[in-house]
């Protein structure tokens, strides 16, 4: 008797969550998969009663679309560049931070600051730092102020570079994005790796000290293996986040996703949103499924690699 009353109550307490999840999480998974296979699905037309045929046209269109290759290339490039750079930097910072006494907590707090920011807002600050006021692509270039980064590089005799303005080269745009994304990704990675370091048993280090092992060797042979589960974790979450890169680019370049709104830095997620807003929901769904498949594959590869390398 008590038990059945209990069950009834359990479902009552669960009902708000289950209703919301059913409508806004479970149904969308099924429906988005369905939309991906409805040829040229358009939401507005669907609401007006149009019926769509089943087929693979959406996927064909996504893959054939020239801009999609750019999106895929940009997304992969950003991942491949930012994940290793930010992981290695975070590891060095965490190890250094773990080995000092005074100022540790203070520095740790400072390093965490980029996490509690609005990626659009700070993207605009980075844009201001790299921005050249004037017309740098004119002949001869008209530079009112070159921006603080160019000023800094000027100290080493580097000519002002057109980082983000109209006519700027792809590598310069990419450099700005890599700098911004790494800056933004460090706090989380430092936090996790430092947490890992603090839970490492001190005995290993004492033993190494007795043996007179060099610092570099300690790092390679003790710290990294013991930290490998955390490293695997930040690499995997880094890749997942990297494949969904979007708002940091909007922060620096605006919705045009590139200098002069030329979409040169468009990403997979950017493509999905543009298709969605352009009333090509079928194509957006197909692209979202492709993105999901890529993330799943990369995560599985990462897990497979870490299974061989990670020492638990």
């Amino acid at each position: 008797m008590v038990d059945s009353k209990h069950k009834w109550k359990a479902w009552l307490y669960l009902s708000p969550a289950l209703v919301l999840l059913a409508i806004f999480t479970i149904y969308p998974i099924i429906n988005t998969i369905r939309l991906a296979f409805l040829e040229d699905y358009n939401m507005m037309a669907a609401i007006n009663g149009k019926v769509f045929e089943f087929g693979f046209k959406n996927f064909e269109k996504v893959v054939a679309y020239r801009g999609f290759t750019t999106c895929l290339k940009n997304t992969v490039l950003l991942c491949v560049l930012t994940v290793p750079i930010s992981t290695i930097l975070a590891l060095l910072i965490a190890v250094a931070l773990n080995s000092i006494g005074p100022l540790r907590r203070f520095l740790q707090t400072i390093y965490f600051l980029p996490y509690v920011t609005n990626s659009i807002a700070i993207g605009m600050v980075f844009a201001a730092m790299f921005n050249v006021v004037g017309n740098i692509s004119a002949e001869p270039p008209l530079i009112v102020t070159a921006g603080i980064i160019n000023n800094f590089l000027g100290l080493f005799g580097v000519e002002p570079i057109n980082w983000i303005n109209v006519g700027s080269p792809y590598w310069a745009n990419m450099t700005v994005m890599v700098v911004y994304i790494v800056w933004n990704a460090l706090p989380f990675k430092i936090l996790i790796l430092l947490g890992g370091l603090q839970s490492v048993n001190k005995q290993y280090y004492d033993a190494a000290k007795v043996d007179g092992t060099s610092r570099a060797r300690v790092l390679r042979k003790i710290t990294i293996p013991l930290l490998s589960p955390m490293i695997a974790y930040v690499v995997i979450t880094g890749f997942i986040g990297g494949f969904k890169e979007y708002s940091s680019i909007v922060g620096v370049f605006g919705e045009g996703m590139g200098p002069g709104d030329n979409l040169a830095l468009n990403t997979m997620v950017g493509y999905i949103y543009q298709s969605l807003e352009g009333q090509h929901q079928g194509r957006a769904s197909a692209a979202a499924l492709i993105l999901f498949a890529i993330i799943l594959a990369v995560t599985l590869i990462n897990l497979q690699v870490s299974k061989k390398r990670v020492h638990y």
Partner: protein
């Protein structure tokens, strides 16, 4: 013989002294370089914030000087007032706070109830249901957004507060986080309360919520920050003057405007959006860092 042996011992001691001196020099250098490295990193981390603040206080002519100044010649507090009106920040703040507060409260109620059921109550299929919910966490949010966009259009929710609050009220991740915390509370307490005739809800309110308060605070802050930083969904479904949220408004205010950008005013607006986040961080650092280290998600 005795003298010779003594000498050997002395030589050996000298050797030890030498190596230990070398050791000290090495340690001093090591510490020096470590601090140097860490301070350079701190400088790089802080520089954008510094640049944001000082740029926001310069006049436009000073901002455009060929050789940059590192401290404003004349502090222009007026930029902040101008930013406030130019970007219509008053309405944007109001909207964001309404959406943030309402969605956080509702989300907490639902999350606590759900976590309680999964942590304490028993019913058939509980574990399968919970595993199924966890599995949805792997799926990228864009996949949901596509269908939800259509669903809220059909519901007629476009350009309302409802559309900003309801669809993302339940976060499986927060349910998971809180359930883990609830599970650590000994079951004996619950059984004792049952014997005393305490109702489930009273037990939840009097015992479990106080004990899990740190986690609940973490969830509250992360959820509020999420509302403050959300960009894509609000842009898609509520981009009208009356309901626009802060992040969107900020980006729009300075891209839509034609003509020359007033950079100092733009930086002032950016600072106004960033400062509340810093304040929250200063006061709730511990909860934020704890929540983040267990989640790995932003907002």
């Amino acid at each position: 013989m005795a003298v010779k042996k003594n000498r050997e011992v002395i030589m050996h001691e000298r050797d030890i002294e030498k190596t230990s001196q070398l050791q000290i020099v090495k340690t001093v250098f090591g510490t020096f370089f470590r601090y140097l490295f860490l301070l350079i990193v701190a400088f790089v981390v802080l520089f954008p914030f510094y640049w944001m603040i000082i740029s926001s206080l310069k006049s436009l002519p000073e901002y455009k000087l060929n050789v940059p100044t590192f401290w404003p010649q004349e502090v222009m507090w007026g930029n902040y007032a101008e930013a406030f009106t130019a970007a219509n920040l008053g309405t944007l703040f109001k909207n964001t706070i309404i959406v943030g507060v309402v969605s956080t409260i509702l989300s907490l109620v639902i999350t606590i109830l759900t976590a309680f059921v999964f942590a304490r109550l028993e019913f058939k299929g509980k574990n399968i249901l919970f595993a199924g919910l966890l599995a949805t966490m792997m799926i990228p949010g864009e996949l949901f957004t596509i269908t939800n966009y259509e669903v809220v259009t059909r519901f007629g929710w476009m350009n309302t507060y409802t559309v900003l609050i309801v669809p993302f009220l339940v976060s499986v991740f927060y349910v998971y986080l809180l359930r883990q915390n609830f599970m650590q509370i000994p079951n004996e307490l619950y059984l004792a309360a049952k014997v005393d005739g305490t109702s489930d809800l009273k037990y939840l309110w009097k015992v479990m919520i106080p004990l899990a308060l740190p986690t609940i605070i973490s969830i509250t802050i992360l959820k509020m920050m999420g509302a403050w930083n959300s960009y894509m969904w609000p842009r898609l479904v509520a981009n009208d003057e009356a309901h626009r949220l802060i992040t969107n408004g900020l980006r729009n205010a300075f891209t839509a405007a034609s003509g020359e950008t007033n950079f100092p005013v733009q930086m002032a607006a950016v600072a106004l959006v960033s400062i509340p986040l810093f304040l929250v961080f200063i006061f709730f650092r511990k909860y934020i860092m704890k929540g983040v280290s267990r989640s790995g998600i932003k907002g």
